[in-house]
């Protein structure tokens, strides 16, 4: 039980990861799929950041007075990953706008049906 409780951040990570993937697979709405993608990526931010924090740790200052410090590197990495995530989401939404202009719908089944109707349904 203690092992379970002390690793609670991992359980949250796994939960978010599974939820995000499930939304991407189960939802037919293209915007909802992107929401799932965002949740999925967020789980990874947590995976990196949570172990970087030490309770009672300070910022990494080179001094005799501070012995226990939190590792700043994961936070920097995840700042980068967040930027990447935002770029992906922005591009994804832009493509959805173009899809809506071209097909008049953002529901996957309606788009597939439109393509099949347009002729060579491959």
């Amino acid at each position: 039980m203690q092992a379970f409780a002390s690793h609670y951040t991992y359980w949250v990570t796994v939960l978010l990861l599974g939820a995000g993937l499930y939304i991407m697979i189960a939802r037919g709405n293209l915007v909802k799929k992107l929401v799932g993608l965002s949740i999925f990526q967020t789980s990874v931010y947590l995976l990196y950041i949570a172990p970087g924090k030490l309770i009672g740790g300070t910022a990494p200052i080179v001094s005799e007075a501070y012995q226990v410090y939190s590792n700043p590197l994961p936070h920097v990495l995840i700042l980068t990953a967040i930027v990447v995530g935002i770029a992906t989401l922005a591009l994804g939404l832009a493509i959805v706008v173009r899809i809506r202009e071209a097909y008049g719908s953002i529901e996957e089944d309606e788009i597939v049906a439109a393509d099949a109707q347009a002729g060579d349904g491959r």
Binding site: M24, L37, Q41, V44, T80, A81, T88, G92, I95, I99
Partner: protein, 493 residues
């Protein structure tokens, strides 16, 4: 002075060219900038490959921060080989793109095509050269985001959906990779790939290391379109602008294969983590499934670009088959096929782009009578098709030869027979082209007589010539690949 900074310059020049192109906006000037940047990268890569051949490993401390703290660019025999392939294709496709993009992309968007070409090139080169696992992820996303845009620029509306699907699956793949790297970072406390390989044996006992291997393998398999994770590939290749298809088909999946090789052998090689999971068996089983299924699906395609896309999935199967064998000859085959398939498929998609330009599409009814209306294009496709099959005298034969040797070396005779047998399926789909081009009367949809514009034809034929050249002179391809294979099997350099 400049020679010491080649690893950085090869990536930075195309990376800086991209925003410049967006500022310039004029399509012609954008094209000139893209060509200049791509050729500079190609020159720098060749010089870098010469340095690597002399010195063994070229290490470059980005911003003068010494590794393993700073980000290191580390170019060894394997990365130099991949870098030369990627920059060569980039340099070849850039001049080709002028006419092809002018025909397929609306005028006000053309400069964006060239900006994305440069970004994609920079990202792929960065992936191949960086010695930092997280930096690799960032470059992977730079390249991937540029690819999604390139695909979405296709004129068919299905290109948008193909791009969207690739965006979802590609991001899942990249995120799986980051999860794997994160777990490795928590275990070893380092992100430098060489440093990670040195520290991993000490912590390889527990559950996290195999989990990291599994995540990275699954993520990269999505990126390199290993069966059954290839679903994004056929539509993306079929509906992207022709020049983009040629560039992506010849480089993107190949660089992902490089990352897989790097982690399977350089990082996990010495720590025996791979022995905890049945990795070779899984790779071999999936590769066989890819080769057989995708080749059969390719035979039934009505569109020539889609046929080539499915054939790509099958050919990637041959590459991963070599990785699964994990013997000296098997790995040589994988690395050589990475190069040979890159130039072969590049040549085929470039020539198909000429057909799209002249006939408005590359469906089989457009191909009827092509031997008379576009004789040079038809001959080029036939020759590159022979390389796809693996006929002696072409580049494709060399890779199949080493693959058969590798299978025999591993004691799997049935696998060697299977490689030869499945090549016969390739004969069927290449024959479908020959039949349409030479043995059919031109239909209504066939192009009027006349070749593709001269620059496109010259570039395409240079690639076809490369397919034949590397079928005879293998000192660069097999020499480079066997050095790379030795390096991979010897653990981290």
């Amino acid at each position: 002075m400049i020679a010491a900074h080649l690893p950085a310059l090869a990536v930075v020049v195309p990376l800086a060219a991209a925003p410049l192109i967006v500022l310039v906006r004029h399509a012609g000037a954008a094209w000139a900038l893209a060509v200049a940047a791509a050729w500079f990268s190609f020159g720098a890569s060749l010089a870098l490959a010469a340095q690597v051949a002399d010195a063994g490993v070229v290490s470059y401390a980005m911003g003068n921060w010494p590794p393993p703290w700073g980000i290191e660019y580390r170019v060894d025999a394997l990365s130099a080989f991949v870098v030369v392939l990627v920059s060569a294709i980039g340099a070849a496709v850039a001049p080709y793109a002028l006419k092809s993009v002018a025909a397929e992309v609306p005028g006000e968007l053309r400069y964006l095509y060239y900006a994305m070409h440069c970004l994609c090139l920079a990202g792929l080169l960065g992936m191949a050269m960086t010695g930092d696992a997280f930096n690799l992820f960032v470059f992977m996303e730079v390249a991937s985001l540029a690819m999604y845009v390139l695909i979405a620029l296709g004129r068919d509306r299905r290109a948008l959906l193909a791009s969207y699907q690739y965006l979802l699956l590609g991001t899942i793949g990249a995120t799986f990779y980051v999860i794997g790297v994160g777990v490795l970072y928590l275990q070893t406390g380092t992100l430098n790939i060489a440093d990670m390989a040195a520290r991993l044996p000490a912590v390889a006992g527990g559950r996290p290391a195999p989990a990291a291997l599994a995540f990275i393998t699954a993520g990269m398999s999505l990126k390199l379109a290993l069966f059954p994770l290839h679903l994004w590939l056929p539509n993306a290749y079929a509906y992207a602008p022709s020049a983009a298809t040629a560039f992506l088909a010849a480089t993107a999946t190949k660089v992902s294969v490089y990352v897989l090789l790097r982690f399977h052998f350089s990082v996990f090689g010495e720590s025996a983590v791979t022995a905890l999971l049945p990795m070779p068996e899984i790779l071999i089983a999936l590769s066989i499934a890819a080769i057989v299924t995708a080749s059969l699906v390719a035979v039934w395609q009505a569109d020539f670009k889609r046929l080539l896309a499915y054939s790509s999935v099958a050919q990637i199967g041959y590459i991963t088959l070599g990785i699964g064998l994990a013997t000296r000859d098997g790995l040589t085959a994988a690395v050589v096929h990475l190069f040979n398939h890159g130039i072969t498929k590049g040549a085929l998609f470039l020539l198909a782009g000429g057909i799209v330009l002249r006939a408005g599409g590359a469906r089989f009814e457009n191909l009827r009578g092509l031997g008379r209306s576009m004789p040079l294009t038809a001959l080029g496709i036939t020759l590159a098709g022979l390389s796809l099959i693996g006929v002696p005298g072409t580049a494709g034969f060399i890779s199949k030869w080493y693959l058969v040797l590798g299978a025999i070396e591993a004691g799997m005779w049935w696998l060697a027979a299977l490689v030869v047998l499945t090549s016969l399926i390739a004969v069927v789909y290449v024959w479908r082209f020959v039949e349409a081009a030479y043995l059919s009367e031109p239909g209504e949809a066939a192009p009027r007589p006349g070749e593709a514009p001269m620059p496109m034809l010259v570039v395409s034929w240079l690639m076809v010539a490369a397919c034949l050249w590397f079928g005879f002179d293998t000192s660069f391809t097999v020499g480079g690949a066997s050095r790379a294979a030795q390096l991979l099997l010897g653990g981290a350099p």
